[in-house]
């Protein structure tokens, strides 16, 4: 059993709540090795998204992700806005007009999101960015699919991997984004974007688990 449009909306609303709840944490992480706005930026974007879904009623899962993507692009700014925006845009593209998300389409969507972020930001694993959370998440999701996992299991595997991936940014020297200006001084700190990626995937997984 997959996840239909309502489920996707529910998952993204839950993600919005998580972003709002973790706003200060993300601001603090970004204050230390960046400019202290990551949590503020994402909160602004997700709040605008919630307002947008309240007004419109997207027909398909892809339409929901597209609405999120355009809202993030037009209201977040900073690096995260275009990056997450492009990611969700590519995810939507992979889903096409499917009426529900299956484990297969979900993995494809995650892969699309990663490709979108990399295409825009040119970051590689190890650069201390959100890519370090998203890359292992995609790999874990693919493995779970191989192993015949259902959607909740698959998303949980992705969230677990994303959290580890985020943690793995702590010892890294940033090569992309604002933190790269710090050179060696960026070592020892968790990358805010990697953290927000892990938070989003965990939110999706929790909704899927509860829903099942």
């Amino acid at each position: 059993m997959g996840c239909e449009t309502d489920g996707v909306v529910a998952a993204l609303r839950a993600a919005a709540d998580v972003v709002v709840a973790h706003r200060d944490e993300l601001v603090e992480l970004d204050r230390v090795i960046g400019d202290g706005d990551h949590g503020e930026n994402l909160r602004r974007g997700f709040r605008n998204f919630v307002a947008a879904v309240d007004r419109s009623t997207p027909e398909t899962p892809a339409a929901v992700f597209k609405l999120l993507a355009t809202t993030l692009i037009s209201t977040v700014g900073g690096a995260a806005g275009p990056l997450y925006g492009t990611g969700f845009l590519r995810a939507a593209a992979t889903i096409g007009d499917a009426a529900e998300l299956t484990p297969e389409t979900t993995v494809a969507a995650l892969r699309g999101a990663l490709q979108g972020v990399v295409a825009r930001g040119k970051a590689e694993p190890g650069d201390k960015t959100m890519v370090d959370a998203l890359t292992p998440a995609v790999a874990a999701a693919e493995a779970a699919l191989e192993a015949g996992a259902d959607l909740p299991e698959l998303l949980t595997a992705a969230a677990d991997a994303a959290e580890q991936g985020a943690e793995s940014t702590i010892p890294l020297v940033a090569r992309k984004g604002r933190a790269s200006y710090l050179g060696q001084r960026s070592v020892g700190h968790l990358d805010p974007g990697a953290r927000s990626t892990a938070l989003l995937l965990r939110a999706f997984a929790d909704v899927a688990v509860k829903g099942s």
Binding site: D35, S74, G78, G81, K176, R178, L182
Partner: protein, 333 residues
């Protein structure tokens, strides 16, 4: 946090409102998305020069909107790049049919958002070119990283390209000129205190009373290193050496020296530092032909300074001397 504000979330909007009434003769301000355009825009047949970036660097960019400099500026939230739709709205408001040059400070956020805006504008058949300024020598350059930041050189770039556009230069000419400025300008800054971003509420970093941050940017990012505070002679020499040796500027070069306050450093200290820099440059055989001294690209109330050097030629000097009529920079008729 102590600031003359009402609410961190409305700082930029309220500040722009004040700017609009203060300079109604020079510019017009739009909100949501926030855009500042010169009062007489669009100027038919003239290349439009558009810049933007996070707020908190005033007078950059809005204070440079006007005759002979910027056609429009898009201020984002404090220290956060504006979004493509704001840039699009700016572009559509000032496009005079001769094309639009986007001046982008090299920060991932600014670059990505302007990139998207440029794509959208191109889709609407606007001839858009983008010039990325990355003059901060504190950051090691490399194709594997985000590269160098755009800092003080941005002010000089906007003045010079704006003058060329005002004179009727084509988009190609403006683009080439802009690249020449980027290739010949270098900067470096230090901070004595950290700024406090309104929506953060606490200083971006903390420094002891005998410490300074060296190689800082304009967003409260910590610098490349933390060093013990030192007398102005050493501090300025540190900046001069780093900037001069990077390009490098060499004996006989004619330069523009821009001594910038990061916001909280008062003029009495800034002029003192400027005098030292002039002396050190003279000792190196450089001729300071033009100078700019003041708080022109700031980081909120941060105390500190930056030095920017631009290698000049006759054309650049001429364009620098061209009249400019903006809130923050004004000379000539």
């Amino acid at each position: 946090m102590k600031k003359i504000i009402n609410d961190p979330s409305t700082v930029v909007e309220e500040s722009l409102r004040g700017m609009a009434v203060a300079h109604a003769d020079l510019l017009r301000v739009f909100q949501d998305p926030a855009v500042v355009i010169r009062a007489d825009a669009p100027v038919a047949g003239q290349v439009a020069v558009v810049s933007g970036g996070g707020a908190g660097h005033e007078p950059l960019h809005g204070g440079f909107v006007g005759r002979g400099m910027l056609s429009a500026a898009c201020p984002g939230p404090v220290f956060t790049s504006p979004t493509p739709d704001a840039m699009m709205s700016a572009i559509s408001k000032v496009d005079g049919g001769a094309g639009v040059l986007l001046i982008v400070k090299n920060y991932t956020g600014d670059v990505l958002n302007f990139e998207t805006a440029a794509e959208l504008a191109a889709a609407e058949d606007v001839d858009v070119r983008t010039i990325v300024i990355d003059d901060d020598v504190a950051v090691q350059d490399s194709t594997f990283t985000a590269g160098r930041r755009g800092v003080g050189g941005t002010v000089l770039l906007e003045k010079i390209v704006g003058a060329a556009a005002e004179r009727g230069a084509t988009l190609d000419q403006c683009e080439r000129l802009a690249q020449r400025v980027v290739d010949n300008v270098r900067s470096m800054g230090i901070a004595l205190t950290a700024p406090t971003v309104p929506h953060v509420g606490e200083p971006s970093f903390t420094l002891d009373d005998d410490e300074m941050e060296v190689g800082i940017g304009i967003h409260g990012e910590p610098g490349r290193e933390r060093a013990p505070m030192e007398p102005a002679d050493q501090l300025v020499a540190r900046l001069v050496d780093a900037v001069v040796e990077d390009l490098p500027f060499t004996d006989g070069d004619r330069v523009l020296l821009f001594t910038n306050s990061m916001g909280g450093t008062p003029l009495i200290e800034l002029y003192l530092a400027h005098g030292i820099a002039e002396r050190l440059l003279a000792e190196r055989g450089l001729t300071v032909e033009r100078r700019l001294v003041g708080p022109y690209i700031t980081s909120l109330e941060m105390q500190g300074m930056s030095l920017t050097l631009l290698r000049l030629d006759e054309e650049l000097i001429e364009l620098w001397d061209e009249p400019v009529h903006t809130a923050a920079l004004r000379w000539g008729v």
